[in-house]
């Protein structure tokens, strides 16, 4: 129904008038954000998604941190954190860490690429709507920035009794975190559906 938007947070109906300055609109009653400025291009979104995909692969291919103690050393990748928990018999905890640091970012990137690349050429990917619903479900479970802070805490604790060396993956994880948050902000739900509707033949 055009001309009216309903606040998803408090159900208040708003008449759609010309976009306010800056393109940002708040609900008049509960102050939840209703509309954000939408000025990203689909090319930016695809570029960020490809960049995030490369960074995610790097983060899993190279060590995150290496620890040297008493002449022996150990290192771990991003995926290694989940594997370490699995080895110790905490399968559900391992699954949670794997889901929030590997699966969710990967699914977010892949579903976006799957939908956006055909859209850019004015086509729709087969199964586009279910894929977009998967994206909406998976997006809140991407915890990359929390993982980075957790890694920092682990490094501080370890640095008391071992020599710690940051690996390539620590930097690629940090870049991945920035890249994913930029990607999320240019592909808001409203923006995605605007692209979809704009491509209607």
């Amino acid at each position: 129904m055009p001309g009216v938007i309903v606040c998803p947070a408090c159900d208040l109906a708003h008449r759609l008038t010309a976009a306010p300055a800056g393109g940002r609109r708040q609900c008049a009653r509960c102050r939840a954000p209703l509309q954000r400025p939408e000025n990203a291009s689909i090319d930016t979104a695809i570029a960020l998604a490809v960049c995030a995909l490369v960074l995610l692969m790097l983060s899993n291919a190279y060590p995150l941190v290496a620890m040297h103690v008493n002449g022996s050393s150990r290192d771990t990748t991003l995926i290694g954190a989940a594997i370490g928990l699995y080895v110790q018999g905490f399968e559900s905890l391992a699954a949670l860490v794997f889901l929030t640091t590997v699966v969710a970012p990967l699914l977010q990137i892949m579903t976006l690429l799957y939908v956006l690349v055909p859209l850019r050429r004015g086509r729709r990917a087969p199964g586009q709507n279910p894929v977009l619903r998967v994206l909406a479900r998976v997006r809140p479970w991407n915890f990359m920035e929390v993982f980075m802070l957790g890694a920092l805490v682990a490094l501080v604790r370890l640095s008391n009794f071992a020599h710690i060396a940051a690996g390539v993956s620590l930097w690629s994880c940090a870049l991945l975190m920035l890249c994913l948050s930029a990607l999320s902000s240019v592909t808001s739900t409203d923006q995605l559906w605007r692209w979809v509707e704009g491509s209607r033949p």
Binding site: V146, G150, R157
Partner: protein, 206 residues
């Protein structure tokens, strides 16, 4: 005071998946015409499901703080850390900003989340018309800060993976970490199943 025009009063629904505004056709299994997600006027059984999740989270909050989350075995000693003693270890090692960060993320945030969700649920069950804007903001804060409690789980998983030096030092994950992760996940799910529109469904000043 005149009633404000709401989606409910105008017969409009908002699709929570794609945010499309849709005419309420009162069908049992209606789907969004744009993205084909199931449509509901309100999230189904929101209060019951959220209450169960919050009660479980509150129950698990006790073992999460009492049981050791991590067991550090070295040739000299065997040190069992709970979440709080982990914070104290960080404080002793002189990194108080990190200690404060972990204290807030792992102890303050989960407790505040459980309490805040409790208040929101209680007032939503009672259909309280008071302080709706503040409660709405409280809910948004709960949604925003919830994920940061996972911080300690990631730190523990990295420590347990890295510190496996044969017969010199080993870090073993404790069941406290499992309970703690369960508290975080249950409160995250509770924030997703809670329908904030329920806070606004009762008209003010009746």
């Amino acid at each position: 005071m005149t009633q404000p025009a709401t989606g409910r009063s105008l017969g409009l629904l908002v699709c929570l998946d794609c945010r499309a505004t849709v005419r309420d056709v009162q069908a049992v299994h209606s789907r969004c015409p744009r993205c084909h997600a199931r449509l509901h006027r309100r999230k189904p059984h929101s209060l019951v499901i959220t209450t169960i999740l919050v009660v479980c989270a509150a129950a698990l909050y006790v073992p999460a703080n009492v049981l050791p989350v991590m067991d550090t075995r070295t040739i000299f000693d065997d040190e069992r850390d709970t979440i709080m003693s982990g914070v104290l270890v960080l404080l002793d090692s002189g990194s108080w900003p990190i200690a404060l960060l972990v204290f807030i993320a792992s102890i303050v945030v989960p407790l505040l989340k459980i309490l805040a969700l409790g208040v929101l649920l209680y007032t939503a069950w009672r259909r309280s018309p008071r302080r709706r804007l503040q409660r709405s903001r409280l809910f948004r804060m709960v949604e925003f800060i919830g994920r940061w409690s996972m911080l300690d789980i990631y730190a523990i998983s990295l420590l347990a993976t890295l510190v496996q030096v044969q017969s010199f030092a080993n870090v073993i994950v404790g069941w406290g970490a499992w309970a703690f992760a369960a508290v975080v996940v249950l409160t995250l799910l509770a924030a997703r199943t809670f329908d904030e529109r329920l806070l606004w469904d009762t008209p003010p000043h009746e």
